[in-house]
Symmetry: C2
Amino acid sequence: MRPLHAALLATAVAAAAPAAAESIAIREIGSFHVGGRTATIEGLANREITFTAGAPPLRINPNGDFQVEQMYVQYVKLADPRARVPLLMWHGGGLTGATWETTPDGRPGWQMYFLRQGHDVYVSDAVERGRSGWARFPEIFAGEPVFRTLGEGWGLFRVGPADGWNADPGQRRAFPDTQFPVAAWNQFGKQSVPRWVTTDAQIQRAYDALVQQACPCVIMMHSQGANFGFNAALAAPDKVRAIIAVEPSGAPDPSRAEAARVKGIPHLVVWGDHIAGNPFWERLRGNIERWQVAIREAGGVADTLDLPARNIRGNSHMLMMDLNSDQVASLVQDWIAAKGLMR
Amino acid sequence: MRPLHAALLATAVAAAAPAAAESIAIREIGSFHVGGRTATIEGLANREITFTAGAPPLRINPNGDFQVEQMYVQYVKLADPRARVPLLMWHGGGLTGATWETTPDGRPGWQMYFLRQGHDVYVSDAVERGRSGWARFPEIFAGEPVFRTLGEGWGLFRVGPADGWNADPGQRRAFPDTQFPVAAWNQFGKQSVPRWVTTDAQIQRAYDALVQQACPCVIMMHSQGANFGFNAALAAPDKVRAIIAVEPSGAPDPSRAEAARVKGIPHLVVWGDHIAGNPFWERLRGNIERWQVAIREAGGVADTLDLPARNIRGNSHMLMMDLNSDQVASLVQDWIAAKGLMR
């Protein structure tokens, strides 16, 4: 019976993931930069620089007008989208839009997943990250950038206990049930970029400008990106059709923000595993839940997709990269469809 | 006869650009990081940082192991490519892969053009640019980054005379025949990113790693990217099917590099306008021509597409963004096809 079993299994696998083999019809792939301003620097000394081997040196005056604080946005528009409005994907701190692309172990990421489900997808890089570029500091950006070590995320992103980190990949201790593809951890580390902690206002301005340009839309945000999305919805409630906060790290303070402004926008918050007993994440989650309560008390919808409560175990903070990333995406897609956002 | 003329004209326009309205069938959009290494920093003091408004401060040890010098590569794979091998697009200095995407005035860029022609396209960000991320300096990268002013490129990229630059867009003097979409100059400025001038070796290593991973291929390089492409071909001549250097700013020194190694790889060099009489660009072009002569003397092919010599006038250094960008791309595509690289 073995050969028959194997054949049946192969058929079942093929049937479970037919979309992955099919092509998708694209109308346009493109990008733009949104927002930003011109900043002037004065009083710095001239420098002589050779830009390319073999090229003559150029005398460069570092003073002048600089374009700063813009944001890069890449879009993929389908020939025939089934979603009513585009899906904007905003990444978390110390990362770029690459978060949503191929997973570190080489599987299609959430950008492809939601394209296949029929969404036009806009993936952006926050101000001062990735293709958005960054400005001279301390002249334009206050303070200095922060660089994430290869090991910092191991505990912070709940792949394993913080003391489970080891520079030697063979000596790292992950949670036994982790869904993160731990063998690809160093590859994931290549996605890290420096970030400032003084640029929230500039980042928010650029996101708000994007909403004015690209919406009506659904906004999906991860980690640090979530607070910008919650605020973008407060700033332009007529432009946002839904908010999906994936492992959010911050939310508006209900005592200062008017939750009633977003009562017409369904909110979904998605949580992975190993939050219980982690004081840092329990505190973050408490902040988010206070904002959800405020939305509900104002008459709005603020749902929670708590994966462990559904017996889906081991998801990390980077759940769009986890081994069950398609399963989690499908639950999010179900929620989007249930809100009437698909044709 | 006017209505008939208008109808005929409309038909002619539609026939001339049918592809722009058609969808393309995509197998996968994705990305990866290639190359890089782990670097260790020691001896810096701890810092306490609040990463997200509302989140508790974290005590950060800036020392540790960092993933550095990797390169970001995004690919679009067609369902049915007509090109025999993928097309790799390498940008120039102070920019990112956005160079090849939508033009600053919103027209489809060369990424879309060559996708429509049937190429799988890989667009990368050089090490320390864009989504490749950058490392702490001076601990890991020597020296400090260089920031391009909004006006520097006006003369350097031959949109107008250097003294034609003015902070006031209404007061800028371009060459009368310029093809650059001058009203979108500040939008183009948003694509600028800082760059180091001390990282050529690191950038070359990542490009060489990309060639090993993604090729056989055709490599199209712009400006500073060209020298990396010429060298990548020298390092892996069995992997490269053609080299297309768009406004290259540097080339190997024929007295030190073995041109015979690349005699089997057809080379094309593309030049825009307003080089004659510009000492800086005449000198760069002389370096390139010496390398082309060396390739030819070794028995290879090193063609030149000199646009003004074909009476195509006014192209800038950023000719993939110029108003006639599709026309220039079509000449490059003709060359690719003539070399037998399409099915």
